[in-house]
């Protein structure tokens, strides 16, 4: 494993050094002293294990395809944005819009995650061990969002497809989000996904999916307009 010390370097220099190490065939990299800096470990397009040893700022591990990223701290907004494949694991809390537009792979946040978690999610799996904030799962299109804790207002608002599982309480469902009973296969899937990240416990799973009333929108339905807008 090679350690890159973030102290005294610009973000561009750090990310360029990571790219250079990848070209040299290094498969395991550790970033020390990240100190909440933004845009660390972005655009990793090769299988590499990257450990960020401390807090990271915005867009940590954004626009990646295939890496295994572990962040031993908290993160700001937009962690693992648009991940295509691989895993991003956060051993702390996340700010807003974690796993935004997630397309594949798995994002696991062991703490709480802020508002608009997994906004416009398009695939993959996002796991939050703690609670999630306002409008989580907004406009979700595909994939699975697993929330072990509580969900704030507007959960799954205007989701097209995909599935949200909530182990805690749901403060308020978003527009056109409905609760269904999880199947036995789905419960087994949840157990397996959580075990991958060492998450255990008893959860009262609620399954949230699109009610599909917004799929075929009739502009003459004034009541639907009022709710949707």
């Amino acid at each position: 494993m090679v350690t890159v010390d973030c102290e005294g370097r610009t973000t561009r220099e750090i990310n360029q050094e990571i790219k250079a190490l990848l070209r040299d065939g290094i498969k395991e990299i550790r970033l020390s002293n990240p100190n909440g800096r933004h845009n660390l470990g972005v655009c990793l397009l090769a299988p590499v294990k990257l450990t960020i040893d401390g807090n990271a700022g915005y867009y940590a591990a954004g626009l990646c395809d295939g890496p295994e990223v572990v962040i031993r701290g908290n993160v700001g907004w937009g962690v693992a944005e648009n991940l295509m494949a691989g895993t991003v694991e956060v051993h702390g809390n996340a700010g807003n819009a974690a796993a935004a537009t997630l397309r594949g792979g798995t994002v696991c946040i062991h703490g709480d995650s802020g508002s608009r978690t997994a906004i416009s999610m398009k695939g993959g799996v996002c796991i939050v061990e703690g609670r999630v904030g306002y409008m989580t799962g907004f406009m979700m299109q595909k994939g699975t969002l697993i929330v072990c804790g509580d969900a704030d207002e507007g959960l799954g608002d205007s989701m097209y497809e995909g599935t949200i599982f909530v182990g805690g309480t749901i403060k308020e469902l978003g527009n056109d989000a409905v609760i269904k009973e999880p199947t036995r296969e789905e419960l087994a899937f949840l157990t397996g996904e959580l075990q991958r990240f060492g998450i255990t416990g008893r959860f009262d799973w609620k399954k949230v999916v699109a009610g599909r009333r917004l799929w075929n929108f009739n502009k003459k339905e004034l009541d639907v307009w009022k709710v949707a807008l």
Binding site: G36, H38, N55, G57, G76, G111
Partner: protein
């Protein structure tokens, strides 16, 4: 609107520390969020406060002349015991007065030249145009203090000058200071409502409504927590607020969580910042910070 906001408070009533320096250190990594102007409000031990300190903004080519005229106007209302000019900011120390608004109105008589920015028995607000890198030029930053707030501004809707910089004080009430990241969209409605109550606005900055709003609520007997809960309901737009009073530090977050905010709390202190990068100098590594949810109101007392 971008802007960076910070706050810090030592929780123990017995503890004071280099709050001004801590705030400056927290604001420096946030300068990209707002390079137009910067300022801090620093609170010292409320129990030891005896004289009123006014910070007056000077806006004239002859700064010394403007300062002398402001001092002369103040002396018509209350004895001035100390007058020091730090750049375009005049610091006047006066003996306690009955009605602060009379003193402020007297100094403010020619607003094109001087404007009272803040009044406080245990707090002072200092500001500068530009990035926050040299705020430590002000003597208050070196004093032991209990808590404080700071702001680095990216102007999007009003002038870039000292008057439009934050923190904003309540002006007619001592020791209330506010920093705001966001935009109050019902600013004009709130402004008219507060003007009807007698508050005089000195800028076109939407954030100026907030300290007067807080003051009007506190004067009616609301607690800071009640006041901030009302603010979340009545202020429209996007906002993260940090409000400081002599013994409290409060935070309020808008109903749609459109602005970032990190909070960290240890046994010793609480620190708040727009971004985590600002917290690393004031709390030990490994302490967990969190982002408050929508409509959250948090108040710490000491």
């Amino acid at each position: 609107m971008m802007c960076g906001i910070v706050g810090v408070m030592f929780k123990s009533p017995a503890e004071q520390g280099p709050v001004g320096q801590m705030l400056c250190g927290m604001m420096e990594p946030l300068f990209r969020r707002g390079p137009d102007s910067a300022g801090i409000a620093v609170y010292t031990d409320a129990a030891a406060a005896s004289e009123l300190v006014l910070r007056v903004l000077l806006n004239a080519p002859d700064l010394d002349g403007a300062a002398a005229r402001a001092q002369a106007r103040a002396e018509r209302i209350a004895p001035v015991t100390e007058a020091v000019r730090e750049g375009a900011l005049l610091r006047l120390k006066v003996q306690p007065v009955g009605e602060i608004s009379a003193l402020v109105s007297a100094i403010d008589a020619d607003r094109s030249e001087v404007v009272v920015a803040s009044v406080g028995y245990c707090s002072e607000i200092v500001k500068k145009v530009g990035a926050p890198d040299d705020l430590q030029q002000f003597a208050i930053t070196a004093q032991p203090a209990t808590h404080g707030i700071g702001h680095t501004r990216m102007a999007t809707e009003s002038k870039v000058d000292l008057a439009h910089s934050q923190p904003f004080g309540a002006r007619v009430s001592p020791d209330i200071a506010v920093v705001h990241n966001g935009h109050i969209t019902n600013y004009l409605k709130m402004k008219r409502r507060l003007e009807a109550q007698g508050y005089e606005f000195t800028t076109h900055n939407d954030s100026e409504v907030i300290p007067y709003y807080v003051d009007s609520k506190l004067r009616k007997g609301a607690s800071l927590a009640e006041c901030l809960r009302d603010a979340v309901r009545e202020l429209d737009g996007t906002f993260n607020l940090i409000v400081a009073t002599p013994r409290e530090l409060g935070v309020a977050k808008d109903p749609i969580a459109s602005k970032p905010l990190c909070v960290v709390e240890t046994d010793r202190l609480v620190a708040i910042a727009s971004e985590a990068v600002a917290l690393h100098g004031v709390v030990p590594a490994g302490v967990r910070f969190w982002e408050p949810p929508t409509k959250e109101v948090l108040v710490w007392s000491r």
